[in-house]
């Protein structure tokens, strides 16, 4: 019998180790799997590479990992925002490698990682310093730049409903990166607000089919 539901945070994060590349869902504070991130903090793992649209606000989640010096590199589109105090400090100290990627290219690179695409051409970023020196190609008279897939050892995402096969729904704009990241990691872990019985989610309303998800943990957050 398939049962992807795990009883606690420790079981949810088992095997997440030093040096892992972790895809972290969320946009601003919306859809961020804070409880899972709190568990990563407590687990003490270090030397992490994080892939996350933002770099954390205030002192929780990604910010806390940054503050504790657990992150070697962050790949994101918008690290600096209102409340990204910790990031600003850590970055200013030179203690963090930053790979800045346009948001649409970030999500497309993650999508490619999950979809078995070896690379793709996009017009985004052409003629800017973010693509300087990169391979370009003129296609139908337009210049495109080649971008590469991005995968994680782990994805941490936040769903609304989950079942024992790993099927997920999301709530409103908390959906954001969850469905994109779930297919792109070797180990995809979802915190959900509620576990439901198999079949309770209408097959047509499943947003992330269970085969993209390894563990589901219910968390009242």
């Amino acid at each position: 019998m398939i049962d992807k539901i795990v009883p606690d945070l420790a079981a949810a994060l088992a095997g997440v180790g030093d040096g892992a590349t972790i895809l972290v869902g969320g946009f601003g504070e919306t859809g961020v799997p804070f409880a899972l991130l709190q568990g990563v903090v407590r687990s003490g793992v270090r030397n992490l590479v994080l892939v996350s649209n933002n770099s954390g606000v205030a002192d929780k989640g990604v910010s806390q990992l940054l503050q504790l010096g657990r992150v070697r590199k962050i790949i994101c589109s918008y690290p600096r925002s209102a409340g990204s105090v910790v990031f600003d400090q850590v970055y200013a100290r030179g203690d963090l490698e930053l790979e800045l990627v346009p948001q649409g290219t970030l999500t497309e690179r993650i999508r490619a990682g999950g979809a078995g695409i070896g690379g793709f051409f996009t017009r985004t970023g052409v003629g800017t310093e973010l693509t300087r020196g990169r391979e370009t190609r003129v296609i139908d008279g337009q210049t495109y730049v080649l971008e590469h897939p991005l995968r994680g050892d782990v994805a941490l995402i936040k769903g609304e409903l989950g079942d024992r096969w790993g099927n997920l729904t999301y709530r409103l704009s908390a959906r954001n990166f969850g469905p994109v990241m779930a297919p792109a990691a070797t180990l995809t872990i979802a915190q959900v607000r509620r576990i439901v019985a198999l079949g309770d989610i209408d097959p047509e309303h499943v947003i992330t089919p269970g085969l993209f998800v390894n563990r589901v943990w219910a968390c009242d957050e």
């Binding site: 919306t30 990166f177 947003i207």
Partner: protein
């Protein structure tokens, strides 16, 4: 710039959005456009974090932390709205499905180059978000900005000195002084009340021409 001037720019741009347009509003000044669209027109606002049919902010106390816009501010959804994931949101941009991106700007060049994401500082981290995707992908890019910097330097220039967001993409510029079309030339389409062409040209770093 005063709040009143900012709203005046936003209102002017809102007036030019046709019924049925799909529009993305950049953070900052462009966000104000949503409050000024004529009630006779249906304009569908897109948010990069996976929303189409974004409505006005909720009344105080009715905010939902799961429902925010690109600026992370609480919003509502109109009847007919759709929710989708981040990748689909950028398919809409990159795939050329949005009619208009209304963006803020640091500088716009005579050739329509846009610089709006970085001041080229080396001590602070850069942050780009969806700026390059919108600039490269929307059918039309309009820039809403103050005509000059706080110290009076022109923002409309021969060549951008700040890092580019995208080359040759801006089609129109709305400032507190004028509405300027960007094409082979910079054509002043409209002057604000009491403003002369010469006054605008004196505050612009590239050659303007008057509309014929």
């Amino acid at each position: 710039m005063t709040t009143d001037l900012r709203h005046r720019i936003a209102r002017r741009a809102a007036h030019d959005l046709p019924d049925g347009a799909y529009v993305n509003l950049g953070i900052g000044l462009p966000t104000l456009v949503a409050g000024h669209t004529p009630p006779s027109r249906e304009i569908i606002f897109h948010s990069e974090n996976g929303l189409l049919g974004v409505g006005p902010p909720p009344p105080p106390g009715a905010e939902d932390t799961d429902l925010v816009n690109a600026g992370k501010q609480p919003v509502t959804l109109l009847p007919g709205a759709a929710v989708f994931h981040h990748n689909d949101a950028f398919v809409m941009m990159r795939g050329g499905h949005l009619d208009y991106a209304l963006l803020g700007g640091f500088q716009v060049s005579a050739g329509g180059d846009l610089a709006n994401w970085s001041l080229g500082e080396t001590t602070k981290a850069p942050a780009v978000g969806g700026a390059m995707d919108l600039a490269a992908g929307a059918k039309q890019v309009w820039v809403l900005m103050e005509h000059t910097t706080k110290s009076g330097e022109p923002r409309i220039v021969e060549r951008c000195t700040y890092p580019l967001t995208a080359p040759g993409v801006v089609r129109r510029i709305y400032t507190e002084l004028a509405v300027i079309d960007v094409g082979v030339e910079l054509v002043v389409r409209e002057l604000a009340d009491g403003i002369t062409f010469g006054f605008v040209q004196a505050r612009t770093g590239a050659r303007l021409v008057a509309v014929k």
